[in-house]
């Protein structure tokens, strides 16, 4: 049986991440990896595996947070983490949305968005850095990442095929030629 204190800790952790996710989920990736490592003993490698499962999922890939909940506290943990991560930001957005209907567009909304955009881009760079530091461990993975980057930047192929194709290619190379690269 999972102790209540673990559940509360999980809820508070993901609830806070929810409210800090300016500009979307990627902005909190680095922080999430760090907190899960420090406070819940989830290694960066495990974090990366779960993150990769999320990449293959339909819809928002941040639904992968529920896997951490499941790992730490079973189905109840998955539900709790899902609620904690998606509810606070949604409730906030709901009320601000209603408020906006009364106030209307102001120069400050634009200013707030302009101010938050570069911060969230910086935090996204931190997310890339955090994921890349564990994901790129040699010439092969670096080559795969660069191919994916080009595939997404310069073709119109659906990114999920890029991810699956390149992920599969990487797995095949490592499976048949484990010594290579």
């Amino acid at each position: 049986m999972v102790s209540l204190s673990v559940l509360i800790h999980l809820a508070l952790t993901f609830g806070l991440l929810s409210l800090l996710a300016v500009g979307g989920g990627t902005a909190v990736l680095a922080e999430m990896q760090e907190v899960l490592h420090q406070q819940f003993q989830i290694t960066p490698d495990r974090f990366l595996e779960v993150y990769s499962v999320g990449q293959l999922a339909p819809g928002p890939n941040m639904t992968m947070v529920t896997i951490f909940g499941f790992q730490l506290a079973g189905i109840q943990g998955a539900l709790l983490v899902g609620l904690a991560f998606f509810l606070p930001s949604s409730v906030l957005c709901f009320w601000i949305g209603r408020l906006w209907n009364y106030i209307g567009e102001t120069p400050w909304r634009r200013a707030v968005q302009n101010a938050l955009e570069p911060i969230s881009i910086g935090l996204m760079c931190s997310g890339v850095y955090a994921v890349g530091k564990s994901a790129l461990d040699g010439p092969l993975t670096i080559a795969l990442a660069m191919t994916a980057f080009m595939g997404v930047m310069y073709t119109r192929i659906n990114p999920v095929y890029v991810i699956l194709g390149i992920g599969g290619l990487g797995a095949a190379i490592k499976y048949w030629q484990p010594g290579l690269l």
Binding site: L16, L20, V22, G24, E31, Y51, S52, V53, G54, L56, P58, G59, P60, N61, T63, T66, I67, F70, Q71, G82, F86, S89, S90, L92, C93, F94, I96, G97, E105, P107, A111, Q113, N114, A115, L116, P118, I119, I121, G122, C125, Y129, A135, L136, L140, L144, A145, M146, A148, G151, V152, N158, P159, Y161, I163, I166, G167, L169, G170, A171, Y175
Partner: protein, 193 residues
């Protein structure tokens, strides 16, 4: 019937749930907002372009995933708080089901050499994808000194100084707001065209 100003009757909660369930199930590979735009404004006509852009703007300003925020705002517009709930649950349900089934299989199964190899490849590819998305969203910022400074400072505090995210935001949000505050009487265009 005697309200010609309201051409389309508001959809039922079930309709809202199903529409977002569809979006949540078919929007593979990110870009969910694009699916929402097409399905909500063109196929369903639940929102016009202006309304959608207003929802998107609020979604981008508020914390949380843009796609989820858009679902909440659209649902609220159509059917109030229950509509918001139906839309958000519909959007997230397919993904949550997928990751839980995949995650449980993965955690329960002890021998997953091949799965590990695939996930390692996916992780590498995802790093490339994430860089591409960051670049696409951010390339405008990279051309302006003011924005670039904020981008770099946020990254530096988070990844190099290893400050916690609340601390980074506590430092960066006031600075950035000050730099990007609305200009009084003679407004000039800020960063975005």
């Amino acid at each position: 019937m005697n309200e010609p100003a309201e051409p389309i009757p508001p959809p039922s909660l079930w309709d809202i749930f199903l529409e977002f369930l569809l979006i949540g199930a078919i929007s593979f590979g990110g870009g969910i907002v694009a699916y929402q735009k097409i399905l909500l404004t063109e196929k369903r006509r639940w929102l016009n372009d202006d309304e959608f852009m207003a929802c998107l703007a609020i979604s981008q300003t508020m914390p949380g995933l843009n796609a989820v925020n858009i679902a909440v705002l659209t649902g609220d517009r159509l059917r109030g708080v229950l509509g918001a709930l139906a839309a958000a649950i519909g959007l997230l349900l397919p993904g949550v089901t997928f990751v839980l089934v995949a995650g449980i299989l993965y955690l329960k199964n002890t021998d997953h050499h091949l799965a590990n190899l695939l996930l390692a490849g996916v992780a590498a590819a995802a790093t490339g994808l994430l860089s591409a998305i960051t670049y696409r969203l951010g390339h405008r910022q990279f051309n302006h000194f003011k924005s670039l400074l904020i981008v770099f400072a946020s990254f530096y505090l988070m990844s190099i100084m290893k400050l916690s995210l609340p601390m980074v935001l506590l430092i960066m949000v006031p600075i950035s707001l000050l730099l990007f505050r609305p200009k009084a009487p003679k407004a000039s265009k800020v960063s975005k065209a």
